[in-house]
């Protein structure tokens, strides 16, 4: 079976090999249900599916905590000219799932959010989510840079590091984020080595270096 037959076998290219010539991949026909884990994909075991459903049915964060997560996530990944923000990509729901999936995140996240509110209350007389944008950024500035954080801020730095990683994970694995980062694979193609112009630009004589 040649490559064209392989692709036909995948059911991706009824019209033959044209797919390989244009730059576009197969349409993503993902149902929203599958995205949130509602529909069992072939190859996912029954036990795994039950486990996912169970996690999805639980609620860990309070509304207040989720609102604070949303504010922080959009500070970490705001909308710009290329793509939307972390909340546009559904990051708070993703983080809600992940702390149930990896329970060791639960206390650092809940406690970290509380730490942030206590700091905020002391400085500005309000919880973090209710502070003005400028105040929120002031506080984030104190915990977003591990190398220059002041003594006493270490716990905030650790929390922010976890929050930043979860936000980036959630954003850059979403449909919006994958497009933003410029990943263009996950589709049938032909690999014939590094494109000629790049070989030249990087000083390699040929595809084998």
């Amino acid at each position: 079976m040649n490559r064209r037959d392989s692709i036909k076998a995948l059911g991706l290219a009824a019209a033959g090999g044209a797919l390989l010539l244009d730059g576009c991949g197969p349409e993503t026909k993902t149902k929203q249900d599958a995205v949130v884990g509602g529909e069992k994909l072939a190859g996912v075991t029954d036990a795994e599916h039950r486990h996912n459903q169970q996690l999805l049915a639980e609620q860990f964060f309070t509304d207040h905590e989720l609102a604070t997560i949303g504010v922080l996530a959009d500070i970490i990944i705001p909308a710009d000219g290329v793509s939307g923000s972390a909340t546009d990509a559904g990051v708070p729901d993703f983080i809600e799932f992940m702390v149930k999936d990896i329970p060791s995140y639960k206390t650092p996240m809940r406690g970290g959010l509380k730490w942030l509110d206590v700091q905020s209350q002391r400085r500005y007389g309000k919880v973090f989510a209710e502070c003005a944008g400028k105040q929120q950024l002031e506080l984030v500035d104190d915990i977003a840079y591990p190398a220059k954080a002041a003594p006493g801020m270490e716990q905030g730095v650790a929390f922010f590091g976890l929050m930043r990683n979860l936000t980036a994970s959630g954003f850059f694995t979403s449909e919006m984020g994958v497009k933003d980062i410029g990943y263009v694979g996950n589709r049938p193609g032909v690999w014939d080595g590094v494109p000629e112009d790049l070989l030249k630009a990087h000083g390699f004589a040929d595809g084998w270096g």
Binding site: V36, P188, G189, L199
Partner: protein
């Protein structure tokens, strides 16, 4: 009321094969194609990559975005299993460690493996340094089987003429990715050879391979392949063997013990159905174990009888002994030359595009044998945690605007950093020879059973100086290679406090040696045909028979030896009284 009656099938099969991975799959394939009536028992469910692969799924189709919480290699990886299975524990003796990976599914671990397909060399079978015992067979004896497997299953690579890294019959290898070209250049400057990878992926059509598609370069072999473009035992061996009409597969069948008669010959096996928990017994003229090195040892040790009081085939007392995995250590960094790199599809194949075969001269080194290096990095599919490294290193090079960032950060500039660094990472991992030692072993834990009531394994495994020195050398090599290619490394290499980053035994999933072959029944469990010294109609075809593996990933040798054993069985059938 629950009945504990054992259901006996009156059929007497020509052969019963336990396990459906590389070893069991090949034995079943050869025997069924020769016309024998074969029964194969698999502890997990049926699995067909064409239907069950999570290939070409997007990260957002997993609620955990491919995180490794449920499956150790992430949600999309093909292996049903891991180092810990619910209700199937194992234990470790105090002060020792071992991690035991099991995949419960048709095809076993071959559904998700790295497809890195290396032959063991002449010096691996017959070592010249006297450090470990010789195999009873030579490379020359195994070579014809390696050749036939290359032709039958397909492997890419390049002919290099390296003495202990024998060439095969190769398909066209995939060219290196951009970061791999940098790696190659850097490694060569550091005196480390780099050659094309060797993987069982059909980079071009394989003559005679019916029903298998050609690779379309999604780089996802670990998810198993819907067009059978790579080697899995399920797609390439078991299902084709079923088509002969001679192979029957029973899935969800966890084998409890091998049954023997008064003369000590194998008569069949008993198993528990993992779904309805009913007990069964099946009869066969011979029994072939391909359950994986440790699972086959466990099965033998759990099969005690008057004729085999110490466990079946264990008159030598060596079943479970000489357990050895590969060594493994890794390092990584990023290439400033690849910041803000142009985007294009470099998924390539899911096995390695390049690797470094062992190059060292042991007379000048503090350890015997060696390791090979596998490389990675690049514009891969996003998954959970894949950009976590960026805020830790974004202060090490100026940003696109020439400004120096503080480490960490947030907002528009951090978002730009994620884009800037994506695909600039490089990684490398050594996989080396760990010595087979009598004192590293598994045995039956006298106090524990699994959820089926089957006594479990207790492991005794410790690394020794040879492995630690090898890991130290790996780290020194990685540092030089990374330096020579101009990579930036943000954290210091691991030192003696972590055994130089040496992974725990079992973590590399190359375990073997538990029923070693040999000519002397006192010093080995099996003969040179992987046939029990004590029980002539019992064979083992997984990595158990390995006397000592090289730094070559096991699968290609498991396949070659299993084919050789199966053909020996065909030739010897009359003498075996079957």
């Amino acid at each position: 009321m629950i009945s504990y009656q054992i259901k006996e099938d009156p059929t007497v099969y020509d052969a019963i094969v336990v396990g459906s991975g590389a070893g069991g799959g090949m034995a079943g394939y050869v025997l069924a194609n020769a016309g024998l009536k074969v029964l194969m028992l698999e502890a997990g469910p049926f699995f067909d990559p064409a239907k069950d692969a999570l290939q070409l799924r997007w990260p957002w189709e997993s609620p955990r975005r491919g995180a490794s919480t449920v499956r150790p290699f992430g949600d999309f990886d093909a292996a049903y299993g891991g180092w810990e299975l619910d209700g199937e524990p194992y234990t470790r003796a105090a002060g020792t460690e071992f991690e035991w990976f099991r995949a419960r599914m048709l095809g076993g671990r071959t559904n998700h493996w790295g497809r890195i397909s290396l032959r063991m060399g002449p010096d691996d079978f017959k070592p010249k340094d006297g450090v470990t015992e010789s195999w009873p067979i030579t490379y020359e004896e195994v070579k014809p089987f390696y050749d036939r497997i290359d032709r039958m299953i397909g492997i890419y690579g390049t002919v290099e003429g390296i003495h202990n890294e024998p060439d095969g019959i190769f398909l066209k290898p995939p060219k290196p990715r951009l970061n791999e070209l940098y790696i190659k250049r850097g490694a060569q400057k550091a005196g480390v050879p780099v050659i094309a990878g060797r993987g069982s992926v059909l980079t071009e059509a394989l003559p005679g391979a019916e029903g298998r598609g050609t690779c379309f370069f999604c780089g996802q072999c670990g998810r198993s392949c819907r067009v059978y473009g790579d080697f899995s035992s399920s797609s390439c061996l078991v299902m084709p063997a079923m088509k002969t009409g001679n192979l029957t597969v029973i899935d969800n069948a966890m084998v409890r013990e091998v049954l023997t008669n008064d003369e000590g010959l194998a008569t069949g096996v008993s198993y528990v159905n993992t779904q309805d928990l009913q007990e069964y017994a099946v009869k066969g003229k011979l029994v072939i174990l391909g359950a994986s090195a440790c699972e086959s040892a466990r099965l033998l040790l759990n099969s005690r009888s008057a004729a085999h009081p110490g466990g079946l085939g264990n008159s030598s007392g060596l079943v479970g002994r000489y357990l050895h995995d590969s060594t493994g250590a890794s390092a990584g960094g990023f290439l400033p030359q690849l910041l803000d790199r142009k985007r294009y599809n470099e998924d390539g194949v899911g096995s390695v595009h390049i690797y470094s075969p062992w190059w060292g001269d042991n007379q000048k080194l503090s350890f015997p044998r060696g390791y090979h290096i596998e490389y990675g990095g690049g514009l891969h599919m996003p998954s959970f945690g894949y950009l976590n490294w960026v805020p830790d290193v974004n202060h090490l090079v100026p940003a696109a605007d020439g400004q120096q960032h503080e480490r960490g950060g947030y907002g528009a500039s951090l978002k730009a950093d994620y884009r800037r660094f994506y695909g600039a990472n490089v990684g490398m991992a050594g996989r080396g020879t760990a010595l087979a030692r009598y004192d590293n072993y598994c045995e039956i834990d006298p106090a524990r059973v699994d959820k089926y009531g089957i006594p479990v394994l207790r492991f005794h495994y410790k690394w020794a100086n040879e492995e630690v020195e090898q890991a130290k050398h790996m780290q020194e090599t990685f540092k030089e290679v990374l330096h020579e290619m101009g990579a930036i490394v943000s954290s210091p290499p691991p030192g003696p406090e972590t055994l130089y980053g040496l992974e725990a035994p079992g973590k590399i999933i190359h375990e073997g040696g538990t029923v070693r072959m040999g000519d002397d029944p006192k010093k080995s469990v099996l003969n040179r045909w992987s046939q029990s010294h004590d029980c002539r109609n019992l064979f083992v075809v997984d990595a158990g028979p390995f006397v000592q593996q090289g730094d070559k990933n096991l699968t290609w040798t498991i396949l070659a030896l299993s084919m050789r054993t199966a053909e020996y069985i065909l030739k010897e059938r009359s003498k075996l009284n079957i």
